[in-house]
């Protein structure tokens, strides 16, 4: 009896194992047709960039829904997988590897912090997976870090700070103090801002680095107060921005000098409130009220209002566009091969998903796009919960704002 049971047991398990093996092996090819197209999206969902990352997650979800409503890409459903990179390069690299190897993601769209995004890029290059970065960085589209399958959807510090720096010097004053987060994005902006100020014939009274993710700025402020600059230009991303502005205002700096920054983010304007951001000047890649004049913006805003009941933000727009670009590339190439998709995008560089015409520059896969100069509306002047910005000027896309192909090491 006992031996019979064992034999039966062995037979049963053997059969099951065999069935599992063939199932795993044989129908893999048959299944490919119905397999969803997976796009991995690493984002700093926790930490000081969480609000922006949540906006980006919504943007990518909207793109996924839009594609699936049209019947997917080449008949395949699109699935965007999100992972928390915790704002740490090592974690970003690990999550990306996991998305590619375990989850079989064929493309990566995402990244928010400049230094984490570089770590993601290392992994995508190694795995030969196309990466559309949605983080601001100068290095990502320059040699030696970039690659033929690395695309850059976001603005970068050179473009942002050249545009904003010039405008600040010409409109707000030429004696500056710069305060910047001491990591890739902050340092790159600081360098470009200083360079731009010098070209405008201005004077730099000081430049102060602070650790990214800091909530305490007070020790920096007395020195700036005493130096009496015309403008403090702050490169304080994420939640740091709110802490910085609160403390700068509580020390009364806003009474004697102008506050300006290369970038403003609607997510943090909403969180900090109109009083905090009143008359703060900054650059932005997109703002939802542009829907009044741009048809693709209108479509994007409506989709977001329908699903989330809030308008999309500036960084959500990047990830929305990034996912749609992957889909456009796959359909153009009729293939999910990263090289083929990259070539197809370079051959058909012009696209418009949310802000009017954008295009990929052939030498460095950098998206060229319009940007806007905006300022906080202030209490009493806002429109609804999210109408927090006045548009001061539009700066039309132009390759002259970025470094040239040669300056970026592309022959």
């Amino acid at each position: 009896m006992a031996s019979m049971t064992r034999r039966k047991f062995l037979a049963a398990t053997g059969a099951t194992a065999g069935a599992m093996a063939t199932q795993g092996f044989l129908p893999a090819m048959l299944r490919a047709q119905g397999e969803p197209l997976r796009i991995g999206c690493p984002l700093p969902l926790t930490g000081p960039f969480a609000a922006l990352a949540a906006d980006m997650q919504r943007g990518a979800q909207l793109a996924q829904d839009e594609l699936n409503a049209k019947g997917g890409v080449m008949g395949r459903k699109v699935e965007v997988l999100f992972r928390d990179d915790e704002l740490k390069p090592a974690v970003g690299a690990q999550r990306t590897k996991e998305l590619i190897e375990n989850q079989k993601c064929q493309f990566i769209v995402g990244g928010l912090a400049a230094h984490v995004q570089m770590a993601i890029n290392e992994q995508t290059k190694k795995a030969k997976v196309l990466f559309i970065s949605t983080s601001q960085s100068d290095e990502i589209s320059a040699k030696p870090d970039t690659s033929p399958i690395t695309f850059h959807e976001a603005l970068n510090p050179t473009i942002t700070s050249r545009v904003m720096g010039t405008w600040i010097a010409q409109n707000l004053g030429k004696k500056w103090w710069i305060i910047y987060a001491d990591y890739a994005w902050g340092k790159q902006n600081n360098a470009v801002l200083q360079d731009t100020l010098a070209k405008q014939g201005g004077t730099l009274l000081g430049a102060t680095p602070y650790p990214l993710g800091s909530a305490e700025f007070s020790a920096h402020l007395p020195k700036i107060q005493a130096a009496k600059p015309d403008v403090i230009v702050s490169v304080t991303p994420g939640a740091d921005n709110i802490a910085y502005l609160k403390q700068a205002r509580s020390f009364g700096l806003d009474k004697t000098m102008k506050l300006a920054q290369p970038l403003l983010w609607i997510s943090y304007l909403k969180e900090g409130g109109p009083e905090l951001y009143a008359d703060i000047y900054g650059g932005i890649n997109w703002y939802w009220e542009l829907q009044d004049t741009i048809p693709s913006a209108k479509k994007f805003v409506e989709a977001s209002m329908k699903k989330f009941n809030i308008p999309p933000g500036d960084y959500g727009a990047y990830s929305y566009s990034g996912v749609l670009e992957v889909a456009r590339g796959v359909e153009l190439a009729k293939s999910t091969d990263s090289d083929a998709v990259a070539n197809a995008l370079r051959k058909n560089p012009v696209y418009d998903h949310f802000k009017g015409k954008e295009w990929w520059r052939a030498c460095d896969n950098k998206s060229m796009q319009d940007m806007w100069i905006v300022k906080g509306r202030g209490p009493g002047k806002t429109k609804g919960d999210w109408g927090l910005l006045d548009i001061v000027a539009k700066v039309a896309a132009d390759e002259k704002y970025d470094r040239t192909c040669a300056e970026k090491g592309h022959a």
């Binding site: 969902l45 926790t46 930490g47 000081p48 969480a50 609000a51 949540a54 001491d182 102060t208 680095p209 602070y210 650790p211 909530a215 305490e216 007070s218 020790a219 920096h220 402020l221 007395p222 020195k223 107060q225 005493a226 939640a239 709110i242 802490a243 609160k246 403390q247 509580s250 020390f251 009364g252 009474k255 969180e271 900090g272 409130g273």
Partner: protein, 293 residues
């Protein structure tokens, strides 16, 4: 670099407020360690809870003053539960056990805060009356930060009076010297430990409540603060309350002054000072040799 008094004085004054938060956190840590030899690693998470409770009570009662009173009391009450149901079970065991327990607790609290209040931090404003800046002659300084100094000083005076002028204070001080002797006199030290742990936690909650309007509330806000507070009590001498106060102020000044001359070094300088102090006085400025070994 301008090193005149007019330039450095604002820096010293700003550093003083940073120091106040260190003092409140460190004194709670030191009180708990001095009496119970428990290294409370959840102190940073309790600081965070203090800030979130302030946001909660502010939303509920619309009064900052009520929130500022309620938040530390709630954190203190939470501390009582932690001592009674978790830490009490570990007395008499290796000091590592409560350390690991409180470290684990801090992780649980941080994740719970993210679930309840979200991964995105919250902002809160100081009350209207303290919203503006005050002209001190040598600089304009936020009224709210002056208020933080005042509250801390008041709490320190109250605590000092409690420890030196009351019977309970006498027992606490005696208990930290010689628990066995105090027991022999028929005093129930369990109740004293419960009380002291609660007070220590409430002080962390108060620090968080005061920090909220300056820095906002977010789940990880206590992670670096607890490390810096440990540095403060190590420098001041483990278990020494006077040491915690002086070292807290000292560390605020170190950050303030270093930021003025070399902002990149501000974070590391705190640890450099600790290393130097430990080289000269291995048990801290006011530490008793052998207590924390």
């Amino acid at each position: 670099m301008d090193i005149s008094l007019a330039a450095v004085l604002p820096q010293l004054f700003t550093g003083l407020v940073l120091g106040m938060l260190f003092v409140l956190l460190a004194i709670g840590l030191s009180l708990i360690f001095g009496l119970m030899t428990v290294v409370n690693f959840s102190h940073g998470a309790l600081y965070m809870l203090g800030a979130y409770f302030t946001v909660f009570f502010l939303g509920y009662t619309r009064s900052f003053w009520v929130a500022l009173l309620m938040a530390p009391l709630m954190v203190g009450a939470f501390g009582l539960l932690v001592e009674r149901f978790l830490i009490r079970r570990l007395y008499g065991r290796s000091p590592d056990d409560p350390l690991l327990l409180t470290f684990g607790l801090s992780l649980v609290l941080i994740e719970t805060a993210k679930i309840i209040w979200g991964k995105i931090g919250l902002t809160l404003d100081p009350p209207r009356a303290l919203g503006g800046a005050v002209d001190l002659g040598f600089m304009s300084f936020p009224a709210y930060r002056l208020f933080v100094i005042a509250v801390t000083v008041a709490v320190l005076i109250g605590l000092w009076a409690f420890l030196t002028r009351t019977n309970v204070g006498l027992i606490i001080r005696a208990g930290s010297r010689d628990p066995l002797m105090v027991r022999a006199l028929g005093i129930d030290l369990n109740r004293v430990w419960l009380l002291v742990f609660g007070i220590g936690c409430a002080l962390a909650g108060l620090a968080g409540a005061l920090a909220g309007p300056m820095r906002g509330a977010y789940a990880e806000m206590g992670v670096t603060m607890v490390i810096e507070s440990f540095v403060v009590i190590v420098v001041g001498g483990m278990g020494s309350l006077l040491g915690a106060v002086l070292a807290g102020i000292l560390m605020g000044q170190v950050v303030g002054i270093t930021t003025y001359f070399a902002p990149k070094l501000a974070e590391i300088m705190v640890f450099v000072v600790m290393a130097v102090v430990l080289l000269v006085r291995p048990s801290g400025i006011f530490g008793e040799a052998g207590l924390a070994e």
